[in-house]
Amino acid sequence: MLSDKELQDINAELAHAATKASASVDALNIVQRHQGWVSDEAMKDVASMLDMTADELDAVATFYSFIFRRPVGRHVILVCDSISCYVMGYNPLLDNIKNRLGIAFGETTEDKRFTLLPISCLGACDRAPAIMVDEDLYGPVTAETMDGILEKYK
């Protein structure tokens, strides 16, 4: 069931939406902000608010890279794998992060602390190689600075 705060936020979006369906991405983003991901149950609840079927809404949700349809860890590490970061050392950096956390892309650490995902160009090409942890951007990231970065996220 959606929380009161989620309902309130989604209704605020619906209040100015030209059509209910046009609030779909906003509504999914709201649920994800509160729950970390979008479960099947949440999908059904949101769909009914938007006069959509859960499948229609899921078709929208799964189109996007950052609507999570599976649970993620408390923090999500996004590693930019696009061209400038590739040139500036993406491969060794990724190896370092994988070894440190013991997980591959798409996986979550056992303590549910981190999920590791690739992301397309972060628009931080002057700071390559770049990563994002939750909403924070870091770059250039080296094996040495990785320690300090991960420490901030418990």
Binding site: D81, C125, E135
Partner: protein
């Protein structure tokens, strides 16, 4: 040298408040525009020769002129800022969004007024969290000071401006896909015609302009078309946000006169190559542009000059290929991106790009076969302009086709030696 787009961006990139922005001359173009008929605003922008900074380079004034005007036009009309900057190697709009959000809002108001739009959106990419936060704050301030909302500055013109945060997909930057995204649908591109100017968001007249394009509008209004043309060192008007990334000493974005050369950007502004790295080539305008080589260093970075050299100005943000980076690995990275981001709507793109990715990966891993280069070449044609639903796949094959042209011996060596020669370095 005048730098209208970045003059208010502080070294720490903390944005100006509305009050400080006004003190720096901000929002004057709104007063100026609202005192004249919308058509006059359009004419000024058309006369300035401003061309779209998102990559296509279409005349902004011309684009606006296709919007039905007057009382017969269907309403509401929409003005949309494309701030879905996701072209790999491109980091220019972020600077404008984070560093001077009021400049963008001012541009939105004047542009929306020029086409008589009553609703505006800023479509911003998922990953630009700081930019979103700063824009939200600036929009709040603009409403509080009556630059947005009902009866702006006591006139009869009203405008509502909202931010739409995307959920992350490259194709959303294609303007018709962006409109589907705003309607809450899967962001696949639409057939053209009808063009969005006539039938866009919710079937109503709509203009979609890139963020850098929109940021230029206040300055054109304030200073006039001739001033704007004089900023440039070439036939294309204005300044441009140029960027260089890769193995250069000082990767960054600079606002410079349109028409600086590739050499000036790399050698002067970016400080040249890092020690121990040599220049082999560059994709001049983001991931979907053809390579330029050392022979092209004196090409001017404007739309027509780069086109004449066989590539595109694109976003004006270049990525340098150095001699320690394998060109096949470089292109494989680009194609992998495009294959992942293909929306799947049309078959050549959905099936062709993953095939190219697999071939390039096998060449890079030493498993390339004789004939692979020819298959790649065929696909550069099959995925080229006219064979796909939108410009994603034709853009994707631009760096590949030119890599085969300029670095063919490297492709051949991988296949012949069954290894990547760069791997032992």
């Amino acid at each position: 040298m005048e730098q209208p787009l970045t003059k208010n961006i502080r070294p720490d990139q903390e944005p100006l408040s509305v009050k400080d922005y006004e003190k720096a001359g901000g929002y004057q173009s709104v007063r100026k525009a609202l005192a004249m008929p919308p058509q006059d605003v359009q004419n000024i922008v058309k006369a300035s020769n401003l061309r779209g900074r998102g990559g296509a380079g279409f005349s902004t004034g011309m684009k606006w002129s296709f919007v039905p005007m007057g009382t017969d036009a269907r309403r509401p009309k929409y003005f949309v800022v494309n701030a879905d900057e996701m072209e790999p190697g491109t980091f220019k709009d972020r600077l404008l969004l984070e560093g001077d959000p009021h400049q963008l809002i001012e541009g939105v108001i004047v542009s929306a007024y020029a086409i008589e739009a009553e609703q505006a959106f800023i479509f911003i990419r998922w990953a630009y969290k700081l930019a979103t936060k700063r824009l939200e704050q600036a929009i709040k301030e603009a409403y509080a000071n009556n630059y947005l909302g009902k009866n702006i500055l006591g006139t009869t013109y009203s405008l509502d401006l909202r931010i739409h945060g995307s959920a992350g997909r490259y194709i959303c930057g294609e303007e018709t896909a962006l409109l589907n995204a705003l309607e809450g649908k899967r962001a696949t591109p639409r057939a053209k015609p009808p063009f969005p100017q006539v039938s866009g968001l919710f079937g109503k007249p709509t203009i979609v302009n890139n963020a850098e394009t929109v940021a230029n509008i206040p300055h054109i209004l304030n200073n006039g078309p001739d001033w704007f043309k004089d900023l440039s060192r070439s036939n294309d008007a204005g300044t441009k946000l140029y960027g260089v990334s890769g193995r250069v000493k000082k990767p960054a974005i600079w606002e410079l006169p349109m028409g600086v050369t590739v050499r000036e950007l790399i050698e002067e502004h970016a400080g040249g190559m890092q020690d121990g790295y040599a220049f082999r080539g560059v994709i001049p305008g983001g991931a979907s542009t053809d390579f330029l080589t050392p022979d092209h260093l004196d090409v001017k970075m404007d739309y027509d000059s780069v086109a004449k050299a066989g590539s595109r100005l694109g976003t004006g943000t270049m990525i340098v290929l150095d001699d320690k980076t394998c060109p096949i690995g470089f292109v494989h990275n680009l194609i992998k991106f495009f294959a992942r981001e293909s929306c799947g709507w049309c078959t050549p793109c959905r099936d062709g790009l993953p095939w190219l990715e697999k071939i390039l990966r096998s060449i890079e891993e030493g498993a390339g076969q004789p004939g692979d280069i020819e298959i790649l070449e065929q696909h550069c044609k099959l995925l080229g302009p006219g064979n796909t639903f939108c410009a994603l796949a034709p853009g994707a094959v631009e760096p590949l086709q030119s890599a085969i042209k300029y670095f063919r011996e490297d492709f051949e060596r991988h296949i012949k030696e069954k290894r990547c020669p760069w791997k032992i370095l």
